[in-house]
Each structure stands twice: as C-alpha cells, then as structure tokens.
Amino acid sequence: MPSLGADMDYGTLVEWMVKPGDRVRRGDIIALVETDKGLIEIEVFDDGVIESLLAEPGTELAVGAVMATIGQEGQAAAAETPAKAEPPAPREPIPREKAPPPPSPPPPAPARAPRIPPGVAPPGGGARPRVSPLARRRAAELNVDLATVIAGEGNVIRVADVENTAAARGVPKPAAAREAALPAVPPPAAPPAPGERAAQKTVEERTAAMRRAIATAMTRAKREIPHYYLETHIDLGGALAWLAEENRKRPVTERLLHSVLLVKAVALAARAAPEMNGFWIDGEFRPSEHVHVGMAISLRKGGLVAPALHDADRKPLGELMKEILDVTNRARTGVLRSSEIADATITVTNLGDQGVESVFGVIHPPQVALVGFGKMVERPWASGGMLGVRPVISATLSADHRASDGHCGGRFLAAIDGLLQEPEKL
C-alpha cells in the first residue's frame, strides 16, 4: 500500500484492475483504493508481470503492506509494493487520539484468485466487465447496483451505462413494459462480487474522512513548520493582453486561462529556486530535481485536494492547460491517480475565483512552500513616472523558515513577477 502523503496510515483496496499474468508498465493503473482523500487509482511503480494478488478487495491495509508481487519477465518474483521510489515518502508517526487498530496483515495469496465469483452472471457472458472509476462513483450516487448494469463496448461499464440503468429503473417507459411491471426497487441483484460494495463509502463519509485528513495535515503544518509570509503585487496587464491575442488564434478546445500562466511562472521560478521546491524530511531539506506543482482544488461537496501537475516547468502552456482542465474535472467528479496525490513538490492556490484579493496559505507538509494568488483587480499603478490603471494580482508566499529565509523567498516572488512580464516566453 503506497503512502499517498504524510498523513495517510491506511488504505482500503476496492478493486484490482489487473490479474495475475498481466503485463504492466510503470504508470499503469493496477488498483482502486479508498483513502481519506477519496478514491485513488494506484499506479504501478515498475514494469513487469503481475504474479499474485495478495490482498482481497475490501481489506484495509497499512501503508507499506504488500498488496501484490510483480516479477520481471524471466526472473524470480520479488515481493514488492507499488510504493514509489521518489519522492521518499515521509512516514513520521502521527499521534492519534485513539490507538490505531493493528495493521491487518494481507491474507495469504489464494492458490487461484477467482476473478469471477460464483453467483455473478456477467451480462453478455464472458468475463466480469471492467468498471470505469467515474461509473463506479456515479453508481454509488444513483444507488445503482453494478451487477445490474449492462456493459458497453469492450465489456466496460461507463457512466452512460450506469445512467441508462438508473433511468430504466426510475422512469418506466411505455416501451419498457417488462421493466415497468417490476416493482420500483432495484431488481434483486446477484450477490456483489467480493469488495464490490465492501469499501464503498457514502458521500458524507467521504467528506468527513477528507475533513479529518485535512485537519491532520494542517495541524501538523502549523505545529511543525515555522511559516514566514511575503506578499507582492503583480501587474498582469501585459500577460492578459498577450493571452487575449493568443486565445483569438486558438479554437475553444485549445484556449488558455490566466491561471495556466501563473502555474507555469511558479514552476519556472521554483526550478531556479531549489530552496522552495522539495521536502523537509527527518530534520533536513531535500530539494527535488523535478518541479511537480500541486494545484489546490476545492471540492464542491466540501474539502480540498492538491493534485500534482507533473514537470509543470517543462510543459508548453497548451499541454499544461489541458492537464489543469482534466485534473480539475477528475478531482471534482471522478478519481485521481496515486502519483497525482503523492508527488507535488510545491503548491499553488488560487482563490481569485472566490473573490478574495490575497491568500496566505498553510504549507502542505512535507513541502516547504506554497504560493497564493488572489483576485485580479484594477488598480491605479505607477510605472515609469506615469500613473495608469492596470489589472493587478496579489502573489503571496508561505515558506518554511527551516528550509529558506525571507531574502530567498523575496527573490522567488520577484522571479515570478518577472516571468509574468514576458508571457510569450512561458
């Protein structure tokens, strides 16, 4: 069970996405896990062949517990967990109000893990359909039993299949006489597959679990991290003019929001300021070679996630914008991936849409810096001896005084300002 952040102690396996014998490549999604941060797709850390699955869906596993063994082709199997080599996940013990239950040991590997449990008749025959994470979430919201959903193309259950099932159940149509004749409750389902239901939480439970995870991380941040705070104001006039011109050339599918300029500027500045980009672990600062910008995303049901935009400093604006659109949509409607949850090296929060002019954020441990942007406002702005009205944005830095000093933080914020004055180079 990989650690998806300093505040995670356990995760519950919901479903395997692979079976023994499957060839996997680094980054493939192999399992769906329920954590305090919601449902997360677990990516495998290495290439190889799945040899055995040691954990049954529905099992709660301590971080570090072995979930599966992966062998290299032609080599003996080595028991490994899909934990990641980098960044080194800090595993400092976190005091809990109640003693945690003892880690549940993974059950011994069954000789042959049955993929299709007896009693489940997969619609259309053949293997049990795969279920997209979004479809799974939608099914939970609509209270649809996945065993009753007919899979679509490729034996995959998608959101539309779930919604069709829900619609057929709830709205009797004249054409569907047989369905209409059924009582207005879900048809008696085949027994759920192991784990199909076991780990599913209600929306309220998820929200409460996420609240606790945020509470733990933020309490630790304020207890351990000696924050210092800086603010500057940045004239975005040039950047916005460039953006409007650029967007005129781009179809709606390729357009940019000014937030992508902010993220890219932070990423480039972070690459040049190693003291801001990395982790404070075991009493020392460990800079990161990569710049993975965590983007704070508020969830409408409550709570907050900050998934990583990997190598944001190296990506063209168009690609980065598409990632922001995708990650934001998945954070709010679907499922994030383990690398997105675990990898961020610095965080950006943008509360401009909420109408506040500046935000002094709390650093997400073990990171050492967080950049906050506020709402764009028109301000009288003196420059070159002239007074004009310019669109101005507040940029703040919350930084860890163990890892850097205000001088360095000030240069970092000034670098962000400088980069935003030359948007064509971003």
Binding site: R138, N247, R248, P251, V252, T253, R300, L325, R332, T333
Partner: protein, 86 residues
C-alpha cells in the same frame, strides 16, 4: 430553429453540465441565474463546460462571447442562434 431543436440543445447543455458538476439536479437550476453564482463553478469548470459544449454541438465560441453563455437560458439562446451556421 424550432422549439424541438431548442429543447435538444437544452438537453445537451444539461448533459454536458452533469459531466462537470454531477451533483447538480437539473430540475433545481434557475435558467436565468448565472452558473457561477448558482452552482459554484469556477473558471476552469466553465472552460471545461464550453469545450464540451463545443465538441457536442460543433458551435464555435469566441472568447469574447463567454459572458453570453453565463446561464442556462442565455446558453441555449446563444447556441440555438449559432447552431447550423457552421
């Protein structure tokens, strides 16, 4: 543009909206009130919404027209006027 076509556009818009904010009950939407205020959508949600509306209906939406799609009623009127004009 017939009423039936307008109804089809409205359904497409609501279907796309559900991919952005699945928690929203379409019946509860006030067609005259701004998406942002009513549904707590932000600029990233709105761009995702416009990209998907464009993909579903093939209507080009210049950036300066974004404010014309700020509510359900305005959205349907705008798209109905532009649909079929290439």
């Amino acid at each position: 543009m017939s009423t039936a076509d307008q109804q089809a556009i409205r359904e497409t818009v609501l279907r796309v909206l559900r991919t952005i904010a699945p928690e929203v009950d379409p019946a509860s939407i006030d067609p005259k009130v701004d998406w942002r205020d009513q549904l707590d959508l932000d600029s990233v949600d709105l761009l995702n919404f416009l990209v998907r509306v464009h993909e579903a209906l093939g209507v080009d939406i210049p950036e300066e027209d974004y404010p014309k799609l700020s509510s359900l009623e305005r959205c349907v009127a705008y798209l109905a006027a532009r649909a079929g004009k290439g």
